[in-house]
């Protein structure tokens, strides 16, 4: 259960959502798309087209080769201590062939989309919720979605209930903007919400369905709107993987030169620890993403070398201070406290 906290305007989390679905199509998995905001048909029309291996691989290969030939033989003179550390690998190398790459500027062809079986759930087109048992005690929109998912899982045999089916396939479920007001849940607008347990109960039952079947699910949630932080903590406990996207649009970080190459940060709050005592923790926790014309990449956040005249690492205030300094000439008085005074 991959839980994604949306960025403020939902641009980048939408992109991630579409990547998940596109990967499903390319791998031949079945899809289930649920939304209360956009009709799933429209979502599916906007999936990015997969890049054919030879063109992208060549591009990346060229880049990597250029980088390697440049400084491979350089031995460091001043910073010789760092010589033995591995080179900073910002982007994935050609050797990791896990998954596919996508071209964001092109849409996926309709024939490719039709090649897999997909199911949609658009909340406003669904019939209202009726329950057979009296056990349901949650928001009716969520309940309806759970019923729909369970029906697809058992009908299509993702839970192994149909022994005749020889080829077992995976179901990829994508749920967009869960918890928003469009689902009938007021957890994003009031604190305390009317039914604080709806979202968490939904996640628990969904987790049960996922564990019982061959499926994977991505959920995007406008977490920045949820006032009640206790709910976010509980939701984190109930998910396997929690990723937050923070975009720089409209925030003060947009103009911060530290972040000038990137469009936002990726916060990995939790990674799955399944079937094992340990989990696979990566070396670095600082990740940032950027959206180039064709590609959406997630890279390690590494700071460019500080080539300004100031001694300290510049933060936003310091940068304004140093700009004044530079414009008035180097001999001017140092105004920031961080500069060394002689």
């Amino acid at each position: 259960l991959v839980f994604t906290e949306e960025d403020k305007y939902g641009l980048y989390s939408n992109l991630l959502f579409k990547y998940f679905l596109a990967e499903g199509i390319v791998c031949g998995h079945d899809l289930f798309v649920a939304s209360a905001k956009e009709h799933p048909d429209n979502i599916l029309k906007e999936l990015p087209a997969p890049l054919l291996d030879d063109t992208y691989g060549k591009e990346l290969g060229d880049e990597a080769a250029a980088v390697k030939s440049d400084d491979f033989q350089d031995s460091m003179k001043i910073a010789w201590r760092y010589q033995n550390l591995p080179k900073m690998e910002a982007s994935p190398t050609t050797y990791t062939k896990f998954g596919h790459y996508y071209d964001v500027s092109k849409k996926m062809s309709p024939e490719l989309c039709q090649s897999v079986k997909w199911h949609s759930f658009y909340l406003h087109e669904e019939l209202s919720f009726e329950s057979k048992t009296k056990a349901w005690n949650m928001n009716s929109g969520y309940a309806r979605l759970l019923q729909s998912i369970q029906r697809i899982i058992s009908q299509e045999g993702f839970d192994g209930s149909d022994p005749q089916k020889k080829q077992r396939n995976v179901l990829r479920i994508g749920i967009q903007s869960l918890g928003s007001i469009l689902w009938g849940d007021d957890v994003c607008c009031s604190d305390p919400p009317e039914d604080p347990h709806s979202l968490t109960k939904f996640l628990y039952v969904l987790r049960g369905l996922l564990r019982k079947s061959l499926s994977a699910c991505i959920i995007t949630v406008p977490a920045h709107l949820i006032q009640n932080k206790a709910i976010m903590e509980r939701v984190t406990n109930l998910s396997d993987m929690v990723v937050g996207l923070e975009s720089f649009i409209g925030s003060e970080r947009e103009t911060n030169p530290l972040y000038k190459d990137y469009h936002g940060l990726v916060h990995v709050h939790q990674i799955p620890r399944l079937n094992s005592l340990i989990c696979d923790v990566s070396d670095t926790k600082d990740l940032a993403f950027r959206l180039k014309r064709k590609l959406f990449t997630i890279e390690r956040l590494h700071l460019p070398p500080d080539l300004s005249d100031t001694v300290s690492r510049a933060s936003k205030q310091d940068l304004a201070g140093s700009a004044k300094l530079l414009s008035s000439g180097c001999g001017a008085m140092a105004m920031g406290e961080k500069h060394l005074d002689f």
Binding site: R211, K212, A230
Partner: protein, 247 residues
């Protein structure tokens, strides 16, 4: 015998302690009732096999009673009409009433025959989930109280419970339950992420608090702190600052 152990984690995942206690008590020959609310049976089974115990075999010979919360809730919500005499232990999803869960625990640990197993053990993973599913904090505390009375006092068994907590948590209900349980525990094992942040060689630190003050008025609690690193098949503990990577 008759001890209540609280497993607590902050900023990290303390479930390795649950796996440890599960295999520990099964190997010791105790009858175990495991209320597993957060993960599936196969998850625990796979890890237990790495630790040298087979949960499936224990279940078959009646030593382990396993309540798989995720599966039971699906049966409750998507299943056919249940038999009237047997309410599902996960009733609280609809009624916020934990009594059915307690009855399940009591029935599974009360020895029907004079049993070949040594003392009964109740293991819960994890209690914080009950709050997410609609139970009130007071109901959760009542449930634990009833379990203590029947398992620790009447049956002279042990109870081990896992909860999550956070220092600056905004989840007041959870913090209320956790503080209350801390006061009533005989032993607290508190796994914390390192305050300095993530580290590859030291996964966290564990505080072992023996609540001697609970049994005898004049005694002080005994607190020991170790750091640990989790590996594939076991966990290594070492004194603070003496990780193998440093030495």
């Amino acid at each position: 015998q008759g001890k209540f152990t609280l497993l607590r984690d902050t900023r990290t995942d303390g479930s390795f302690l649950v796996h440890h206690f599960l295999s520990f008590y099964l190997r010791a020959g105790c009858k175990v009732c495991f209320v597993a609310l957060l993960q599936s049976f196969s998850h625990y089974n796979i890890v237990a096999q790495k630790l040298g115990v087979s949960l499936a075999a224990a279940k078959e010979r009646g030593q382990l009673v396993f309540l798989e919360g995720l599966k039971s809730c699906l049966d409750l919500l998507f299943g056919e009409q249940e038999q009237p005499g047997q309410p599902s232990p996960l009733q609280f999803l609809s009624t916020s009433d934990l009594r059915a869960l307690f009855d399940f625990v009591r029935v599974s640990l009360t020895p029907a025959d004079r049993g070949s197993w040594k003392g009964p053990v109740l293991l819960v993973d994890d209690l914080s989930v009950l709050l997410s599913l609609g139970a009130a904090p007071v109901a959760v505390l009542d449930f634990i109280h009833y379990c203590r009375v029947s398992v620790c006092c009447q049956l002279e068994g042990n109870v081990v419970v896992l909860v999550h907590s956070n220092e600056d948590s905004e989840d007041e209900e959870n913090e209320l339950v956790v503080s209350s349980l801390c006061h009533h525990s005989d032993l607290i094992l508190w796994a914390e992420g390192l305050p300095t942040g993530f580290c590859k060689d030291v996964h966290g630190q564990i505080k072992i608090i023996k609540r001697l003050s609970l049994r005898q008025a004049a005694e002080q609690d005994l607190v020991q702190v170790y750091q640990y690193k989790i590996q594939d098949r076991n966990v290594t503990f070492f004194a603070r600052g003496l990780s193998a990577a440093v030495l």
